[in-house]
């Protein structure tokens, strides 16, 4: 197992860039650790516990264009007028599909195993029949270098959900901190190829599994639908400010909205865009006429947990929660769903 220094890591990243990857790694930006595009020459931040965003921001961006088309909307002195094209009219609707696929492949460098599990969950959702072409375009040929995690913070819960284990086929390089350097092993052919670029070869030796230390331990008795419905969430939702930070920072929240967007300067060019949507908002479940299915904060708080646990287990045989704890750490009221679903161990 080759041991690398920070200089080797930089060489490795240059090697990835040379192969056409866009390297995305944790960086400290304005005092917070975030996943971002790594500027050339800069070293990635590999000694961290929590990142504020997740690979979702790159695989399912918060705003993406699905396609563009022309309508016959015109701006008149009394506002926007949308006239539908007619057989006699000059402008039949043409749909010009324009995909926002990136030119380079994505390489995630130094993400924790919990985030790798979130990519696996998004794959299950987005690549199940019929596959989402926009997600697939970004996902194909992706390179993942995993930084194994040694210790969680107050909000981590991957130890309870077993999401510190990297699923097979979801890592190209496995990295681990050791004596100021990094132990690196290749977990795929692609990873071996990248290691060969910096003249390091794979040596065969067994590596013990690294189980991150959890600061707080909880046990979940049951996470089925009836149990979540039965529990009283009053003390949790009372504090909720409906800011939706829990769903924005969640690496597996994939709910979306599709809207037509156009500029008032040129209202005829319409862009159909996909945006992210939060189940904590009332409009999430609103249908035409104003009927809302999730009326109360209580129902919406429980809905998020139901989508993460029983619904995902039923549809994809996978937990939707990967135990990163972002929804607790980013919540301004520190609403802790672990206390709601389980009990704390001494």
């Amino acid at each position: 197992m080759p041991k690398l220094t920070t200089q080797d890591i930089l060489k490795l990243i240059d090697g990835l860039r040379a192969e056409g990857f866009e390297v995305i790694s944790p960086l400290r930006i304005n005092g917070v650790v975030k996943l971002a595009k790594l500027p050339p020459g800069e070293a990635p931040l590999l000694d961290y516990i929590r990142i504020n965003n997740s690979p979702k921001d790159f695989l399912l961006p918060c705003r993406e264009s699905l396609y563009k088309y022309r309508s016959t909307a015109t701006l008149t002195s009394y506002g926007l007028k949308i006239r539908f094209p007619t057989a006699e009219g000059p402008c039949p609707v043409t749909i010009m599909p324009e995909c926002t696929l990136p030119k380079s492949k994505i390489a995630f460098f130094g993400i924790h195993p919990c985030m790798v599990n979130s990519i696996r969950y998004l794959d299950k959702v987005m690549l199940s029949d019929p596959a989402d072409p926009y997600y697939k375009g970004r996902r194909d040929g992706m390179f993942i270098a995993v930084m194994e995690c040694e210790e969680g913070d107050d909000y981590c819960l991957c130890g309870m959900l077993d999401s510190y284990k990297v699923p097979a086929g979801y890592a190209d390089l496995m990295m681990r901190k050791r004596d100021g350097g990094f132990l690196v092993r290749a977990a795929s052919e692609g990873g071996k190829g990248v290691l060969a670029l910096i003249n390091k070869t794979q040596e065969k030796d067994g590596v013990p599994e690294l189980v991150p230390k959890m600061k707080e331990k909880y046990t979940f008795d049951s996470t089925d639908e009836a149990e979540i419905d039965r529990r009283d969430a009053k003390e949790y939702v009372e504090l909720c400010t409906l800011c939706a930070a829990c769903t924005v920072t969640c690496p597996t929240c994939y709910c979306g909205d599709i809207e037509d967007e156009f500029s008032l300067m040129d209202p005829a060019n319409v862009e159909r865009t996909r945006l992210r949507m939060s189940c904590q908002r009332k409009c999430y479940s609103m249908i035409a006429g104003g009927t809302t299915f999730l009326k109360t904060k209580d129902a919406r708080f429980k809905w998020r947990l139901k989508h993460k646990f029983p619904f995902s287990e039923r549809a994809y045989q996978l937990k939707g929660c990967i135990g990163c704890g972002n929804c607790i750490a980013m919540c301004p009221a520190r609403i802790d769903f672990r206390k709601f679903l389980g009990r704390r161990e001494a």
Binding site: L66, Y67, Y69, R70, S71, T72, A73, I82, F84, P85, T86, A87, E88, P92, V93, I95, P97, C99, L101, V125, M126, S128, P130, D132, P133, Y134, G137, E225, Y254, C255, G256, D257, I258, E259, D260, F262, P267, A268, V270, R272, R274, M277, Y284, S285, M286, I287, A288, G289, T291, F293, L294, A299, K306, H307, P310, F311, S312, R314, A315
Partner: protein, 272 residues
């Protein structure tokens, strides 16, 4: 990526005729330009009005004609209001057919009861047309249709034609004094239909009404597996990627529905 493989891209269609059904409801007939939609009764499509947006609608025409689609649209939201201004010749985009249909082959040889309230009849029209066209395959077929005011009744001409082949019961809950027909809610008139344990029921209406009808039918001895409900949610993608139509039990209305057996879902939770 080819356009045929992208499930988000709509395909072109033209409005061929517009029919006023009631004060706020119109039936639009679309001709599909160089493509066909081989749909089955109960499926839905996503209708794109250029510059306005997209909304899901159940197909309200016969599945024997896959080159034309009819949608009955009531003015409620943004897309439905804009659709009231469509004229013959206007171009729109259509995505579909999507969703799971009614399993009509399982209805064969049985009594069929179709219960619709309000604009819910639009979601069941393709099924009613199938039952009327293939009348010989089924035993007794009854349509129980409830609305509030006389002017809310839609498909008046069609219902007159259907009543020659199937039994039709119409009831109004807020009838005017000159209304000569039945009064009250649909649940008050379920006694007038002969129900046996093998009767198949298809129900569509507002969520609270569907719950009470399904409850009432179970009380009258129908099996939950034989009661079908057509649910409404604002599906955005229609292919199970946006989770906006997630319902109790983790089912997606767009992929697993919109037609569900009452045994698959919690009928009391339809309104949640």
């Amino acid at each position: 990526m080819s356009n045929e493989l992208n499930p988000y891209l709509p395909r072109p269609a033209n409005v061929t005729s517009v029919k006023n059904e009631s004060l706020d409801t119109k039936t639009l007939r679309f001709r599909l330009i160089n493509w066909t939609a081989p749909f089955q009764a109960g499926q839905f499509v996503q209708l794109l009005l250029p510059g306005v947006g997209e909304a899901p609608f159940c197909i309200a025409s016969s599945q024997s004609d896959p080159k034309h689609l009819e949608l009955t649209i009531m003015r409620r939201g943004i897309v439905t209001t804009a659709s009231q201004y469509l004229r013959p010749g206007d171009a729109v985009g259509i995505r579909g057919p999507l969703g799971k249909p009614f399993p009509v082959s399982a209805f064969e040889g049985k009594d069929v009861l179709v219960v619709a309230t309000g604009i819910g009849i639009a979601a069941l029209k393709s099924l009613i047309l199938y039952l009327v066209e293939n009348r010989g395959k089924f035993k007794d077929v009854t349509l129980l249709y409830g609305a509030r005011f006389p002017e809310d009744l839609v498909y008046r001409d069609e219902i007159r034609r259907w009543s020659e082949k199937i039994k039709v019961i119409i009831t109004l809950s807020k009838a005017t004094p000159d209304w000569a027909g039945l009064r009250g809610r649909v649940t008050d008139h379920l006694n007038e239909v002969e129900l046996n344990p093998s009767t198949v029921a298809a129900v569509c209406g507002s969520p609270a009404v569907m719950t009470s009808i399904a409850d009432e039918l179970v009380n009258k001895g129908l099996k939950k597996e034989n009661i079908y409900v057509s649910l409404e949610r604002h599906m955005k993608c229609g292919i199970g990627k946006c989770a906006r139509c997630l319902i109790m039990g983790g089912l997606l209305v767009c992929k697993d529905g919109p037609v569900f057996r009452a045994s698959e879902i919690d009928i009391r939770a339809i309104g949640e």
